[in-house]
Symmetry: none
Amino acid sequence: MILPEPGSRCRGRCGESALTIWKAASIHQWRISRRKKDGTVSNGLPIDQILHGNCVEIMRSLPEGSVDLIFADPPYNLQLGGDLHRPDNSKVDAVDDAWDQIGDFDDYDLFSCGWLEEARRVLKDDGAIWTIGSYHNIFRVGTFLQDMGFWILNDVIWRKSNPMPNFRGTRFTNAHETLIWAAKHKDSKVTFNYQAMKALNDGVQMRSDWTLPICGGGERLKDSDGRKAHPTQKPESLLHRVILATSDPGQVILDPFFGTGTTGAVAKKLGRHFIGIEADEGYIEVARQRLAAIEPGKADAIAVTQSKRALPRIPFGALVEAGLIKPGDTLYCAQGRRTARVRADGSVSSGAEAGSIHQVGARVQSAPSCNGWTFWHVRRHGNLVPIDVLRTKIRAEMDA
Amino acid sequence: MILPEPGSRCRGRCGESALTIWKAASIHQWRISRRKKDGTVSNGLPIDQILHGNCVEIMRSLPEGSVDLIFADPPYNLQLGGDLHRPDNSKVDAVDDAWDQIGDFDDYDLFSCGWLEEARRVLKDDGAIWTIGSYHNIFRVGTFLQDMGFWILNDVIWRKSNPMPNFRGTRFTNAHETLIWAAKHKDSKVTFNYQAMKALNDGVQMRSDWTLPICGGGERLKDSDGRKAHPTQKPESLLHRVILATSDPGQVILDPFFGTGTTGAVAKKLGRHFIGIEADEGYIEVARQRLAAIEPGKADAIAVTQSKRALPRIPFGALVEAGLIKPGDTLYCAQGRRTARVRADGSVSSGAEAGSIHQVGARVQSAPSCNGWTFWHVRRHGNLVPIDVLRTKIRAEMDA
DNA sequence: GGCGTTTTTGAATCGCTGA
DNA sequence: ATCAGCGATTCAAAAACGC
């Protein structure tokens, strides 16, 4: 592997950049192996499968602009010293697996450039990516995302309700991990189920900090000896929120570091398709068994609160056409002080002003804009009823 | 200014690095102006002063390895679009000040390299740095810290109890900011008052996520027109925790982006020295008046817990942090005959006795135990109010 | 003055569609 | 590509207001 001159004080960003080096040397040395397709293939995509191998290699074999969402939990490149013991002298089972040891920052940068570039190629133009990490790696991943043209939408904090304490008393308890949610481009129209997130959070906007327990109990996969099958298995609750918020049923979610398949498990439960890539055959076997036992989510069970933006557009004139409002009827604001008259073509007039319900509503308030559907009301049985209620009626008839 | 070739898809990390460019071109063009020393000078350091000018220039005039701690709140370089209106059509007063508009990623990287390199030079070998930022800038700052050889100790989340909502329903509420705490070297022996943090957090280890309200109310500095004096004034509670945790009384804390002087204000209250650097004379004037009104912390008031003790049931320290009770304030029993003094970490002292509100309450009564929350009172408007009343207020904020 | 209600505001990368 | 029109969208805390 070609690296910048060693020994320089500033690593990574001195001399040639990791991204430049990556393109020049590493990628072309990889052999793209053909792999056996043993599952469903949709639009050339091997969906609902676990693909075995190096994730960059595998992603290069997938078509450009083909997946809707990527969730990536790359190695954190933890720089551990010696063994860590608890105050009672028991040894902490640290993450010291070979796959987490990428090397110094230069190696880690090359590694990150590699998989991020391929992930970006495979992603649809309106797609998005989630990455998760700790302070060891997330700043580098975030910088690469920005440098590659991804557009960060939020950084999200997974606030662990039950983190491992700092046994030495030398730092603050490392009680969170950081996720980054980014669109492929600045102008990408990404999926965000705002109302579903609001519903999930007791009716108030979902915040950028999520308090969730770490993966344990019956959810934590164990091998035959009772030891945890994977050292960094993520909780399904975390993926549930990610997938519910930023994908729709039927979409394809790619996880290039599949591990024991939490992304696939939650995707299947929520009626999404997944593509998993994993280099370790042992993890793949665990994931296969896990996924086989999961019942796919049914359409009625995975439905979420819809955003009004997704509903069919009804022009105000349709209410007049349907006879729910008659030409000459009076519209009132909520207080009843401001009024407008309905005209036969669905426009309204108030004094000298005339135009759409939105335009006239804005004018009478001297406001820059106005949602006429919620601003204007009609008198029914002595009460003022928002015209939005009549729109709902029209929509219900259309669905019937 | 020399920049990488424009139009390249990958910005910043392609071609010459920002750090290389910085060293080659920008720094040598700066003229180091002599400045008038108008305050105390200790070990060649202009302590407890606000220095006017570009922070890189000023830092170059300070001796190498001379300050104990740096707190830096650099511009976030927000990339705003057009105006943003709330659902009620009121306009959001965005942070669009000229000082926050650094430019594109390349410009911001050069800017960041510049001040970070000088900050590192000025820092003692066993010193540490704190930086704060949002997803717009913090990944780049974190990457540079690592590339320059700083050793990250924690990333800390400031979880805002009352953030501004996302008005368009397009993202998660941006409800947090990220701080990075890093040592100058991997082997630096940094200051960390572990027991004080534990005392401040109800007797359990302080975590990496801190729930604190944004700066408002009487603490928020206003100009003569009643408008906020600075758009991004940080709460003193945040600095209280930073300074109490990672510095000792008498040490020197440098803030290269001093603004209206929150770092200096808390440093003075906690018996630390500060050096503030600020480019805007208007902010300096506000900070000077603010600092002049502050009484320096007395040694007994700013003393913190040095050894283990029994766990208090309630985090009394949160009241100190929030400014509801100040270090040095007096607590009274209901009759006003017995008193205790509040210390900066939420412990209290009475005569030779020191400890939690419960312990000291028990001691002064010669009782086996005591509920400090109902025993102790503070004087407000001439009346004695149980501190439990203040706890209720804190709880409301923390529950958010 | 006191208490209940209304208004204001905070580091923000904040829309979609069709002519 | 640009522009205009539709019409979707806010939480907590403190200050200001009203009775």
